[in-house]
């Protein structure tokens, strides 16, 4: 394109062709390219409007409060998953680590009578350490993230079950660790502190990705790892940091999970691994790395929850929700392919 115009040999007709106004498709492509969270946001709005029409209960604040409370665990987890997917990786073990962390928190607090704050810190340390193992295997042993985390999924699931000995733990009401499950009201909107914690997590991650050099480097590494290395970015350090910071999100998710189930349950969060990936993908983040925003993952998690809630209120078979989510995942990845393939 440039060669044609810059040779000075371009005819007027060619100039005109090159300077033609963009088509509608190109315009949409350009907008979506710049705003990866826009298409999931539109889906979310459409879903909310649709379900409001099918059920008058849907848009009541009480119901929306419920949706928000239900989304907090997977939402927090998806924030961490986003970081790893942005590096062109994937974390299949993220939910298993969350369950282990939550169980350790609850168990220390209940059986060992460790103060809640200390139990929380141990749980946080376990989540970060577990992600450090993933990160080291990926960066030092050079294993594909898919394989590393597939293996770690089994490892952490087994450790959780061995540690729990089949028991669930119910914490006393008022325990420090249950703070994330306590509600506060804004008008008739009843949110848990867990929801608040999740929102803070998203704000911090959004800031770090948008406004710091670390965020730029994370995108660059996910985009083209060789190019990033040649520009002088310490690729391994950036990759490892993505896993460690994701560990923080896992820890937050674990704490929110404790608040949600009222203690520790080895059978909770069984589908959290895949649900977090689903949220990230529906949220417009590219599985090929380097593209997407963390806010999109929150929207993705909300879409799944809204479908779940809305279809139940409409009195439909809950299996339709599973079906709808499947269709959305395929649609989201198709849109991503389109955004990546066409050059503006």
């Amino acid at each position: 394109m440039t060669t044609a115009t810059s040779d000075g040999a371009a005819s007027a007709a060619l100039e005109e062709f090159l300077n033609r106004p963009p088509t509608v498709g190109q315009r949409i492509h350009g907008i979506l390219h710049g705003q990866p969270a826009l298409s999931p946001a539109i889906v979310l709005v459409l879903a909310c409007v649709g379900f409001s029409l099918t059920s008058s209960h849907f848009y009541q604040l009480q119901n929306l409060s419920l949706v928000a409370q239900q989304v907090a665990v997977v939402g927090s987890l998806a924030a961490g998953q986003t970081l790893i997917i942005l590096t062109a990786g994937i974390d299949l073990s993220i939910g298993a680590i969350m369950v282990l962390s939550s169980l350790v928190m609850a168990n220390l607090s209940y059986q060992q009578h460790v103060p809640g704050v200390l139990a929380l810190l141990v749980g946080v340390a376990i989540a970060i350490a577990a992600q450090a193992v993933n990160g080291i295997l990926v960066t030092r042993i050079k294993l594909p993230p898919f394989i590393v985390t597939l293996g770690m999924l089994s490892v952490f699931t087994a450790i959780t079950l061995i540690y729990a000995q089949g028991q669930t733990i119910q914490l006393q009401p008022g325990a420090f660790l249950l703070w994330t499950g306590e509600t506060f009201a804004i008008g008739s909107l009843h949110l848990t502190y867990g929801v608040l914690l999740m929102i803070v997590l998203y704000l911090v991650f959004t800031y770090a990705l948008r406004f710091t050099a670390w965020g730029r480097h994370l995108y660059a590494v996910g985009d083209d790892i060789e190019a990033a290395r040649l520009t002088g970015i310490s690729v391994n350090r950036v990759l490892l940091s993505a896993y460690l910071v994701a560990g923080v999100a896992v820890a937050v998710a674990a704490w929110v999970l404790v608040g949600r189930v009222g203690g520790g349950d080895p059978n909770s969060g069984l589908n959290a691994n895949l649900e977090s990936i689903t949220a990230v993908v529906i949220g417009g983040t590219s599985l090929f790395g380097g593209r997407g925003v963390v806010l999109g993952s929150l929207i993705g998690a909300l879409i799944v929850q809204v479908f779940d809630n809305g279809l139940a209120l409409a009195g439909l078979d809950p299996n339709y929700q599973v079906l709808a989510v499947g269709v959305l995942v395929i649609a989201a990845v198709s849109v991503d392919q389109w955004i990546r393939s066409v050059k503006a």
């Binding site: 394109m1 810059s6 730029r216 995108y219 060789e226 190019a227 040649l230 380097g290």
Partner: protein, 259 residues
């Protein structure tokens, strides 16, 4: 003659049993354009990668301003004032032009926003990028906030060259900088290379394009079979001579007759 800014002495690099570099010497003086030419597989790219910290030579020394340096990674070379535009374009496609120019050396905001919250000074980086692009006379790059993947191959190359010229304080290495460019952009890059020389920077230019090499270079380093076959100047030798040395049809004594 002044002291060389960059020297390589006896560089050896093996890939398994393949000898990519066989005891190569190189001298680069401030304010000169040294062209490195050679047939495919002569070791040009390997030599450049050793000088830019991408590869670590198995044996031999690299000296910057007479002092021996050991580059363990590209950052080390960058810190020594050596910038490289690689043949494989080192740009992040999804990031915008300004982010690419400053990738790996971002400017932070002044005050606590920058030091505590580590916030980037996007405005300042864009301003400096726009200035750098304007200096190069790349008028086709209008929007500095444009993603690099929306640019043509030539424009991307221009971004990479701008990046190197902005930060290479002593040495700028260009590996086939015009290979993917259109006629006008090639002219701009050639002009830029001259401008770099005028500022006193030393330039290493790897190119297959003999007319460009003979037009620009002060001296020409000819690689052949992993070693330095000769160093000639456009004044003392013709293109035919250069090609003959490159292909081995003509040999020169390894003594540096033209230094």
């Amino acid at each position: 003659m002044t002291a060389p800014v960059l020297e390589a002495r006896g560089l050896v690099k093996l890939f398994g049993r393949v000898i990519a570099l066989d005891s190569v010497d190189l001298d680069l003086y401030p304010g000169e354009i040294l062209a490195v030419i050679g047939d495919n597989g002569a070791g040009k790219s390997t030599l450049i990668k050793c000088l830019s910290g991408v590869l670590i030579p198995d044996r031999g020394k690299i000296l910057v301003n007479g002092r021996e340096v050991r580059f363990r990674n590209p950052q080390d070379a960058t810190h020594a004032g050596i910038e490289t535009v690689h043949q494989v374009l080192a740009v992040a496609p999804a990031l915008d032009i300004a982010s690419n120019l400053f990738l790996g050396r971002e400017i932070r905001r002044k005050g606590p926003l920058g030091s505590v919250l580590r916030m980037l000074d996007t405005k300042e980086m864009r301003r400096q990028s726009a200035e750098e692009i304007r200096k190069l006379g790349i008028g086709t790059l209008q929007n500095i906030g444009q993603a690099v993947e929306t640019l043509s191959g030539g424009q991307r190359q221009a971004v990479a060259v701008a990046r190197a010229s902005a930060f290479g304080s002593q040495v700028v290495i260009l590996d086939e900088p015009t290979a993917a460019l259109g006629v006008r952009e090639t002219g701009q890059v050639l002009k830029l290379i001259r401008d770099l020389r005028a500022t006193g920077k030393a330039v290493i230019l790897i190119s297959h394009d003999m007319p460009h090499v003979f037009e620009l270079a002060d001296r020409i380093h000819i690689q052949r079979l992993g070693g330095r076959a000769a160093v000639i100047t456009p004044k003392t030798h013709t293109m035919e001579d250069a090609v003959a040395i490159m292909t081995g049809a003509k040999t020169m004594m390894p003594s540096r007759s033209t230094d």
